[in-house]
Symmetry: C2
Amino acid sequence: MKDEIRMAHGSGGSVMSKLISGLFMTHFDNPWLNENSDSAVFGIDGSELAMTTDSFVVDPLFFPGGDIGKLAVCGTLNDLAVAGAKPLYMSAAFILEEGLPLNILEQVVISMARQLKLSGVYVVTGDTKVVNRGKCDKLFINTTGIGKIEERFRHVHTARNVKAGDRLIINGTIGDHGIAVLLAREKFSFRSSVQSDCADLYPMISGVLQLFPGIAFMRDATRGGLATLLHELSMKTGFGIIIDEADLPLKPEVRGITEMLGLDPLYIANEGKAVMAVPYEFADNVLRALKKYPEGKDAAIIGKISPDFRDVILETNSGGRRILDHLSGDLLPRIC
Amino acid sequence: MKDEIRMAHGSGGSVMSKLISGLFMTHFDNPWLNENSDSAVFGIDGSELAMTTDSFVVDPLFFPGGDIGKLAVCGTLNDLAVAGAKPLYMSAAFILEEGLPLNILEQVVISMARQLKLSGVYVVTGDTKVVNRGKCDKLFINTTGIGKIEERFRHVHTARNVKAGDRLIINGTIGDHGIAVLLAREKFSFRSSVQSDCADLYPMISGVLQLFPGIAFMRDATRGGLATLLHELSMKTGFGIIIDEADLPLKPEVRGITEMLGLDPLYIANEGKAVMAVPYEFADNVLRALKKYPEGKDAAIIGKISPDFRDVILETNSGGRRILDHLSGDLLPRIC
């Protein structure tokens, strides 16, 4: 194989991890980047700040439940929220293709503005570049966000407080976003009502974190899906993880479509799902607190941290055990 | 004309200004964005921070004097520096085209790392997206930077201290970057030694600002060139500007090439040039201080702020006067 960029380099899986550790982390080497979290956390004058960046290249631009603009805002808010940060300010940089209808751009900007207003966050600086027709695909957006972390939440973006026996909680159904985008992009012969779960998780996450500052770890399960997140958590902590298939929240329609298409929902992207590692003693209380929020109504305890091995194990409905491998290809490109 | 994105929407000129004010500033409306500076300035816990974002889509990726990686780092450093900020942390987000040779990406990353090390700044968080072949052009980079502003430099990114009689100083020759990129991209029959002026201006700018905190205004002259910067300054202040053609630093080779190609160097991009508005009383001292730095050796006083009219006027070598209009088309697309 030639040494060139493949779609898998953007999948969130093992090929991407190798690119990031072998290239970016090797050359940019510094303690903040090496933390390998979705947000960097640093202090300026005694304030702890979180910073996160994402470019959005989703195809199509509009899909049931969202669009590239809402996605760009929520994606950045969520990366800050799971770092224990309160999102404050955001940049927005647009790469536009010559010939893009202005009303498409306007719809995207209005969608961003609506979400920003709902979330109480501001786009304070921006950039606009235009490339010739055929040199990008309609429009790409980069959003970079800055938030502020309370000292007592400083640990949640690292995994250092995670210990054997901690329960793993997710705030709802998996795979909705990836399937919604896939169905909007491809021409299938069936109809579906699957909507992206794209949402700002900050209100829920900060509400629950205020009540339970002892939550050990949080991360949102985006590219690469829940399985990829669990893999990273296992790698970071050195602990194994056991997940029970029967406990995984999954919409019947998403289950049906993934079975029909031969996809595994555990590897499908979400845009409104976070996983928390919570000490056993108050896992049920965190679950109850999550369920009070619309984004947490289908929350569930899906598994636990295990000291016994270093894999991610799925206990299947049929009573077997399956190792959830690190994603190596790219199931669904350009879903964010 | 159809309402669609044209190359001119990315030019830095009047078409881009209309897009920014009519669309982005209308919908994202907030005091930080409305300041319309290259960096947003906001306070967190009493610290004044500056934040700036830029996507880089330069074609070709490598050109005499620089490459997209060095450009991305320096561009962000300079936007922070001219806001009176000390650059601290940066994000780097890559959009990669399937099929991009990995060694090209590696060269770019190494170039970024080299500049970051020289500048003492860290890429603390990043993102990697891959799009299918033909859906972007090799690679695009977004860099977003955070810096800290000393209270006494809080005014330089606004133009509020600018007054009639202030002298305008530039730190060297104009048009070098745009011409270097143009020559690297197009196949011309002549050879040239023109190099991009791409450079980190922070050491020079902070050095001079420490000595002369009374400098009224600074901005770097990138897309749209010196003329576009002067236009924006005139619009912001309500003052006219008079520039003397004889005083404009211009490399003979750049002069020759722009004459031959019918381009106006006043509208050609720079990537290592800042303009300062300085009270008359110490303009000569600032000039002398600038000249001590390699990036300032060709610095010159090029004109002044005038109370008499609201245009940007060029006093030509032939003794005439010419109004420098706001750039309306796009002379040289994708130069940054």
